[in-house]
């Protein structure tokens, strides 16, 4: 398959981006400043991220659309208000996570933001439940820009009046440059911020404005350190089709009503796990020293039994220490439990830690 590029590819190039292949796209891993400076500038000022490789999937249809989607998504879509968003999943028959996503109710139906690497398969999976009364579109004419950090609201409000009134995980349509934009107050860094869905034709002008307000471009490298400090999962690393939401410590993301009533893929399995607990569970991990426990690092108990593995690990610039997440046998998952991490054949001490590592500042 040919490598794809977002509408901003040349713009990134002119900003000095270093590119890497990611989910079939050439994406910036970092710009001139490097990962640590990009990370800190997002936490202290604001940064923008081109996340246009993610799928913007729109669904419309009659009242049966909700029933269809609820078979594969364990959110309470019936009670989801227009312009409100939820973090949820697509689940397979075993309760495994096909993808994690943000679903927003629109006036005509729903918009789902899908991970780039999963979007084609996701659509195949969702469309199995759709009928001739439902229409869907993966809109490739739209870019998606995340603006994240404490100054985001002040900067975006000047350009698009009204966005400051949005609360976390809600959105709305805004008129800008005689075009309709959809803006949600959301993101994946633990900071206050927005995601702006804008036509490919107008996106460069939006970025010009952000840069003129000293918003730095942020690559995938800092996106990873930011989301990991915020305790957020990355699909394909912390989540996959063999892991269910209970093991992933994400049972909060299954609607209360849906936990009780079910009616979605894998519910039998999930109901059982809700009652009895899972054998393994996702936890936060803090190495005691400076050693970085990266993905696939084996985890041992203090008496040298292998008890788990790391799924994401890096250096957290804002906590100024290494941080990691991984799966561990549930009996070792209590906060503060001492563990050992095997890095390059040597065992280093660490502890099970609370998540997030860095306090979230969402505007609720």
């Amino acid at each position: 398959m040919e490598v794809q590029k977002t509408a901003l590819y040349n713009y990134h190039k002119n900003l000095g981006a270093k590119f890497v292949p990611f989910a079939g796209y050439e994406m910036p891993i970092q710009y001139k400043d490097g990962i640590v400076k990009e990370h800190i500038s997002t936490r202290t000022h604001a940064g923008f991220f081109d996340v246009s490789h993610m799928g913007q999937f729109f669904l419309e249809g009659d009242e049966t659309l909700i029933d269809s989607l609820e078979k594969i998504i364990p959110a309470d879509l019936k009670n989801l208000k227009i312009n409100h968003s939820k973090y949820s999943f697509l689940l397979n028959n075993e309760g495994g996570i096909i993808d994690d996503l943000i679903i927003t109710r629109t006036e005509k139906g729903f918009c789902i933001i899908l991970n780039a690497a999963c979007k084609e398969n996701d659509i195949k999976q969702i469309s199995q439940f759709l009928t001739k009364n439902h229409k869907y579109l993966l809109n490739n004419d739209l870019s998606l820009i995340a603006l994240q950090g404490p100054k985001s609201v002040e900067i975006l409000e000047k350009l698009i009046p009204g966005v400051a009134d949005l609360k976390f995980m809600t959105g709305n349509n805004f008129q800008h440059e005689s075009e309709n934009l959809y803006v949600t107050r959301s993101g994946y860094t633990g900071e206050d911020g927005f995601e702006i869905s804008i036509s490919n034709k107008k996106v460069e002008k939006l970025i010009d404005y952000l840069i003129s307000n000293k918003v730095n471009p942020i690559g995938l490298g800092a996106r990873d350190t930011l989301r990991l400090e915020a305790g957020l999962c990355l699909y394909g690393h912390d989540l996959n089709e063999k892991i269910n939401p209970i093991e992933a410590n994400l049972k909060w993301a299954i609607a209360k009503k849906r936990k009780e009533v079910g009616g979605f893929n894998g519910w039998e399995k999930i109901k059982n796990l809700l009652a009895n607990g899972s054998e393994k569970i996702r936890v936060g991990i803090k190495p005691n020293g400076k050693v970085i426990a990266r993905e696939n690092t084996k985890i041992f108990s203090s008496d040298n039994n292998e008890i788990g593995f790391v799924t994401s690990g890096t250096f957290g610039p804002s906590v100024n220490a290494p941080v990691a997440m991984g799966y561990i046998k549930s009996e070792y998952s209590e906060i503060g439990t001492s563990i050992q991490l095997e890095v390059r054949g040597k065992k280093y001490g660490g502890k099970i830690s609370e998540l997030p590592f860095y306090k979230k500042s969402y505007v609720k």
């Binding site: 891993i29 990962i35 640590v36 400076k37 490298g221 400076k290 610039p317 290494p322 390059r344």
Partner: protein, 126 residues
């Protein structure tokens, strides 16, 4: 102190009598990005030419540091293990990685000069 010599794996070496000082080049730090972890060898450890001797990790990935010259480690630079970011600031000065007592000066002589190394980097961009 002798002139600095350079390896294809982006280490530098300087020689003082039979004790060599080894570090990673500025070019290497630019490729690695922000350095966040360093592990240096303990005194007494024997290293082979082009054998793994230390570890450097950036926010992106972990890399091995090889010794361009064989010998016995006399000192690892604990200061850079305590402050890994200092390697980005002064890679070819205060932020050396280790010192070792060499066996064969011929190994040092066969490394690249500064000009040869700069040319090598230009021809092998990565």
């Amino acid at each position: 102190m002798s002139e600095k010599k350079f390896s294809k794996k982006h280490e530098w070496v300087s020689l003082d009598g039979d004790v060599a000082t080894v570090g990673i080049t500025k070019h290497a730090t630019e490729m690695l990005g922000d350095i966040v972890f360093v592990e240096v060898p303990d005194a007494g450890k024997a290293v082979e030419k082009e054998g793994q001797a230390a570890v450097v990790e950036s926010t992106k990935a972990a890399s091995d540091v090889y010794s361009p010259i064989s010998g016995e480690i006399t000192e690892g630079n604990k200061a850079i293990a305590d402050d890994p970011g200092s390697v980005n600031t002064d890679p070819e000065g205060a932020s050396w990685f280790f010192k070792l007592k060499i066996k064969d000066k011929g190994e040092y002589d066969s490394l690249m000069s500064k000009d040869e190394y700069d040319k090598f980097c230009k021809e092998n961009p990565s």
